[in-house]
Symmetry: C2
Subunit: 363 residues, 2 copies
């Protein structure tokens, strides 16, 4: 039993963490029932403020070491070949609040993950038109969102290596779930980098620059690194780690969100995903440490989208700890416990849900 | 200066409060710039889980003391006369996290308010068809959302007195901002009670019942009451109190959300609103305790929607405390300090924003 449980979310939280949690939005776990997360339920992590960008005035310059520097309007980009790709995005800090001690930042418990259908033009099309020069090593994406992080005023910016940037599923996106991109998701144009944690998918794009030296922006070289200790150089956060969640069964208590259930057969449902387009090969479900294989649902056509799973459970009276863990085609399995990281990045420790089963519960 | 400041959000918060803040969603204050809050930025307070209701199977029975008990389908209701009303909703617990001590519940700082255009049929049309009997004193609205609150398993339910229920702007709503109602906003059908705090606008309607005795449901007689002490009988929360917010100027620090600004002329923008359809008559803006009148923008056609305001400010180097307070046509003015309430309801204490103005800031 004991090894099954994540460390409880112990202790207290700072007012700043609460303010960030109120501003940003998680996906309520019952929304795992949707193949595609409905508009307005997709998680949101907004570093600074949502900028006010007018689509009619907006342009996207492609600069730097390119043969044909070009500035595109929204209409220009929408006239290029387009595709729609279903992508599961997860915040690199998802699960941070489960760590002890804990980095004071956005205190995600486990709801910083969602899936959407993104429509746009492959970045490769635009880079091809611009003509990347031989010397280019990275492509830098700058947003319109400005603020201060660790004392440094900055415009949010991230880079990709050329080989990553040219992947045909890396898109310049203007629509989400068949509707024009919303302000909070990066309107009028954002990057989507499937298979990577969300920080790579720069919102509110304001320029793209081809560079010959690795980009030194703070969100690239200081932020979004795995580090065991503050003095570590760190390893960049890139592709999403294997992970899974279940819809907590039964009904919740309003304040504690503890779950209650009547005895009987329950079909437990959830989703599992991994980064880099690596398929999920196994999902296991446990009741009080007794593991069994869950049923994997048909894989989505998109290699970037989560996969459904379910498992029947005969719930008997008492308190039970439910758990889920996924394995991907690279043989990576979720750990029982969160992996230590000073900033709380990449926590894919397995989810547990404690359920009280009793005949007094109507549902 | 001192009297200008709300009590700081002192101390620490419980893990349960953080989990509620991650699950529920506030409206980031920069979204005050929109007359109508974009889809997905409207605040969300979901008591239990978002229920999965299939629109095709959904029906709405009108029961109790009516001459013609009727069950409506979605199509039936959509065939009735319809109207669209712009309404500002605010959570009764908005501002709770500003109180000291503080009730442990959803820890809204100040972002539990939004405005949407709701389309539906007047409830009065449906009640007319059903034929309310003379003896009816209240109409009870039951949702499909089920959970436990303070030890009691319940389906979320609230009532309105007949006179309130028959107001022509009280709507049975199936569309929001011109789109089908989203799951998290009460799909396929919800109630909208303009001018009241959000708890009255029952989501995921499953039945409507005309009763001859005041409804005794927990969310009606225990929850959503103003109380100075736990043993008080309490006064029900009904209409929204006069309130105002500004878009915090300048740029934020990521973690603390403190604001930074360069010196110069700034146009401060915001919204003000009151309940019961009572117009806003005055908005005042202060810098370091020096009050001046802000400019009220043209009133919206809807008496239920917030009103824009703005005020120029010549920002000089240094740290400044900005504040805003509104007055409504009933002469109600926002207090400088939060009004004490044990559950943190109805806090309309004026907003203050501390800004650091310095030439090093680019924005």
């Amino acid at each position: 039993m004991k090894s099954l449980r994540r460390p409880p979310i112990v202790g207290r939280f700072l007012a700043e963490e609460v303010a960030l949690a109120s501003r940003n939005s998680g996906m309520p776990l019952e929304a795992l029932r949707y193949d595609v997360t409905p508009v307005g339920l997709h998680y949101l992590l907004i570093h600074f403020d949502i900028p006010a960008v007018e689509a009619a005035q907006w342009t996207l310059p492609i600069l730097g070491c390119v043969d044909h520097p070009t500035t595109f309007s929204l209409a220009d980009l929408q006239a290029l070949p387009q595709r729609t790709v279903r992508v599961t995005l997860e915040c690199a800090g998802n699960g941070r609040a489960q760590l002890t001690p804990r980095n004071a930042s956005m205190p995600w418990v486990e709801e910083g993950v969602s899936t959407a259908e993104w429509t746009g033009t492959p970045l490769a099309e635009v880079l091809k038109k611009a003509g990347l020069q031989q010397s280019v090593c990275e492509v830098v994406f700058t947003g319109a969102d400005i603020g201060i992080d660790r004392g440094v005023e900055q415009t949010y910016a991230r880079s990709l290596r050329v080989s990553d940037a040219l992947h045909p599923d890396v898109l310049l996106v203007w629509a989400m779930n068949g509707q024009p991109l919303l302000p909070q998701h990066g309107a009028p144009m954002r990057l989507i980098v499937p298979g990577w944690y969300g920080m790579a998918s720069v919102k509110w794009l304001s320029k793209i620059e081809a560079v010959t030296q690795p980009f030194q922006g703070m969100q690239q070289v200081v932020g979004y690194h795995f580090r065991a200790q503050p003095e570590d150089a760190g390893v960049p956060c890139t592709q999403i780690r294997v992970n899974a969640l279940m819809v907590p069964p039964g009904i919740p208590d309003f304040f504690s969100r503890q779950r209650f259930l009547k005895p009987g057969l329950v079909n437990i449902q959830g989703r599992a995903w991994s980064g880099g387009g690596v398929p999920i090969t196994r999902v296991e479900f446990a009741v009080n440490g007794q593991w069994r294989d869950a049923q994997l649902h048909r894989a989505e056509a998109s290699p970037w989208a989560w996969r459904g799973w379910s498992c029947d459970w005969q719930a008997s009276t008492g308190t039970h700890v439910l758990a889920v863990r996924a394995t991907d085609a690279n043989g990576h399995v979720q750990p029982d416990q969160p992996v230590w990281d000073i900033a709380g990045f990449g926590n894919n420790g397995m989810q547990t849900v404690t359920v009280q089963v009793n005949a007094a519960t109507q549902q």
